[in-house]
Symmetry: C2
Subunit: 411 residues, 2 copies
């Protein structure tokens, strides 16, 4: 555990690696483009960022990004680690973002720059809330132990009235679902006001819980301004709801912190927009670094895509993201978030997900995989449950399908 803030980057540059790394460290601490009189040795000693490690990776690639200097010279890549004294900014997440991911991606020396990971001194654990529920709290509230929560998303994404939404929730409750979420496009539009939707949906969920003892966890998308989010959270809590959802890139770090410091329900964190932060491999953010900001801000569940998804992401990247959420951030405060697998998911991906991840501490959400099952939603839920039971018991998928009609139909 460091007593300084540390960040790892992939850099690509036509400058000597040590010069390029020093430029980054200078720009993000006491240095500037031209020497100024005030930057004394004493000031540098207390405030300058430090290049800790430079690991060359290779050279001779064409520049990954346009606009960098020396485009016709030899470019090389490296992993570097830079550290900062926490005294520069204190344990403030918004200011951490400005420090480790601020004015550096545009620096002329870099034809590629990507933030890979961050490590924070324990004072950040004291000053920030972290997730209040995570895996254990989610299991308690949902009543699901020792297997993934089987989840789904309300589809169509947007367009249902509150009552149409509640009618679909009733179908899903009867189907045996553990978890349902709003789509990220559905928050508080005039065509489906949040309060009306929450009331209609919770009437169904509470009725189902009264009859069966099972309270389905519904993540209501309360994305909005700070006061709106607090009011919507309070409404959900007053109705007996057990989860709220927020679009992280829509509300930002301070919006998330304001919600978390107010909330008494788990926060389901949606990463929509993640593509513009990550899609180019030599630019932006790796998931591990980005997720640590939100874990420390209080995300209980975080979306990680799914195996063989319908987006551009590789399976290896999906698994690396999910595993990173359990990587302890501090001694005694892991800040672990529960990964949410989704996008084109069905019973077909269960065995591979289990084999790659080695834990059932996840939410496995399928839309079409549940709604479009030949036996209807109850068949879709049963198939996913059967696949997970088999995977965790070491029974191959084909064998399990011989013994379970819903699973056979799903495949």
């Amino acid at each position: 555990m460091t007593v300084r803030i540390e960040a790892d980057y992939l850099i690509e540059t036509a400058w000597p690696l040590d010069e390029a790394a020093a430029m980054l460290a200078g720009e993000q601490s006491s240095g500037t483009f031209v020497p100024v009189p005030g930057e004394t040795p004493e000031l540098k000693a207390r405030a300058a960022a430090r290049v800790e490690v430079i690991t060359p990776l290779g050279e001779g690639m064409p520049p990954s990004l346009p606009g960098a200097g020396r485009p016709d010279q030899l470019h090389r890549q490296a992993h570097i680690t830079v550290s900062w004294p926490v005294e520069n900014l204190g344990p403030s997440l918004p200011n951490l973002v400005a420090t480790v991911a601020g004015n550096l991606f545009e620096l002329n020396a870099f034809s590629g720059l990507r933030l890979l990971d961050v490590r924070l001194p324990p004072v950040f654990a004291t000053a920030n809330p972290g997730p209040a529920f995570g895996v254990p709290g989610t299991r308690t509230l949902s009543g699901v132990a020792n297997r993934p929560l089987i989840g789904t998303i309300i589809k169509p994404s947007v367009g249902f009235s509150p009552q149409e939404t509640a009618d679909l929730v009733a179908v899903l409750c009867r189907a045996g679902i553990d978890f349902i979420k709003d789509d990220e496009l559905q928050a508080d539009g005039p065509a489906c006001p949040f309060a009306d939707r929450a009331r209609a949906v919770m009437a169904v969920i509470n009725d189902h819980a009264d009859r069966t003892g099972k309270k389905v966890m519904y993540a209501f998308n309360l994305t909005g301004e700070v006061d709106e989010m607090r009011a919507r959270h309070d409404l959900v809590a007053s109705l007996g709801g057990t989860c709220v959802m927020v679009s992280l890139n829509s509300v930002g770090v301070t919006g998330m912190l304001a919600l978390r410091r107010h909330a008494r329900l788990p926060i389901h964190a949606h990463r929509n927009g993640w593509g513009y932060l990550s899609r180019h491999p030599a630019l932006g953010w790796d998931f591990a670094a980005w997720a640590k900001i939100w874990r420390l801000a209080g995300a209980d569940h975080l979306h990680v895509n799914g195996l063989r998804n319908k987006f551009c992401e590789s399976d290896a990247s999906v698994i690396a993201s999910a595993r990173s959420l359990a990587d302890p951030m501090f001694p005694g405060m892991a800040c672990a978030a529960m990964p949410v697998f989704s996008s084109g998911q069905s019973a077909r991906q269960v065995h591979d997900t289990w084999a790659a991840l080695g834990t059932a501490d996840l939410i496995h959400a399928a839309g079409g995989g549940i709604m479009a099952h030949p036996q209807g939603p109850s068949g879709g839920v049963a198939a996913l449950r059967a696949a997970w039971d088999a995977a965790m018991a070491g029974v191959p998928l084909a064998q399990a399908a011989c013994e379970d009609a819903a699973l056979a139909a799903a495949l």
Copy 2:
């Protein structure tokens, strides 16, 4: 003016352009990857996004981004316009972001996707604050009419104590500066607490104002959690300060809105992190689209880089960004923000900036260009003032330098 929400994108795809555009529109409204029973013709009529325009740009380029489908097939680019009924989300900025810039940059059909611009129906103007001060309010508070505010940044960026900061501010006040800002790395670290810095700096600024009648505008970087920002704003206001600064990508849209709805001072909006949103030309955000979100959320000043800057950005891009800030967003509510030119600026860029922009409604900030002037900071400020006077009077730079010693020394 549209009654629907409209967004313009650059797309790159190996799919037929109309199919790719329809996939984007479907994913961001009522569609999903597989047909679901609830998406009736009636629901689509009220909730589906619509592809309004497709303008082919060219084809045969290699895929700009990895991970897209059909990598070995012919790729083509186009500009498209997509529209949404405002009933889907209401006039909510956080949910606008999830709609026009959510789960689409990762779509498998796209080897490139960039949000170029957005146009919003007037209901957004009613529901959101916009800038409270902009150019006219900034001119009133700073007492600077009919020319750019000449500004600078406290350098070293971080490391000064509150008193050292105030001592430099005293030098800058004597030099005749109009505007000073904290660096984005300096907010409320233990080495330079916000409250101590604000008190020390405002004592100097108020003293200078008492003696000269000129109150220098200082943008205090209050970036932090929502309650912290409100308290810091109130402290600055109580001390007689006239501006606060916030790092947009650190606080997010809801943090900005919470600050703006509380504030009674101009908000100087710093775009650090902009590189990871924009650096690849086929990914992320164009400035015009991104800035409209923040203009409507209440940014009075917005950073646009500067001509011949030290970053990767071209002069054409800088000017396009600055001009976009004056592009009226609504009838009767332009939401114009004041552009802040900075990065490697000095008297050398003044004539070209004036020629390209055609207005003096800007803040021209120079760090080294002022601090490292041969005659000291007063020479740096005088040179910038002389250059702007000359440019606006149609006097060439070389001729003006013959008549002004400070300007001659700067060149």
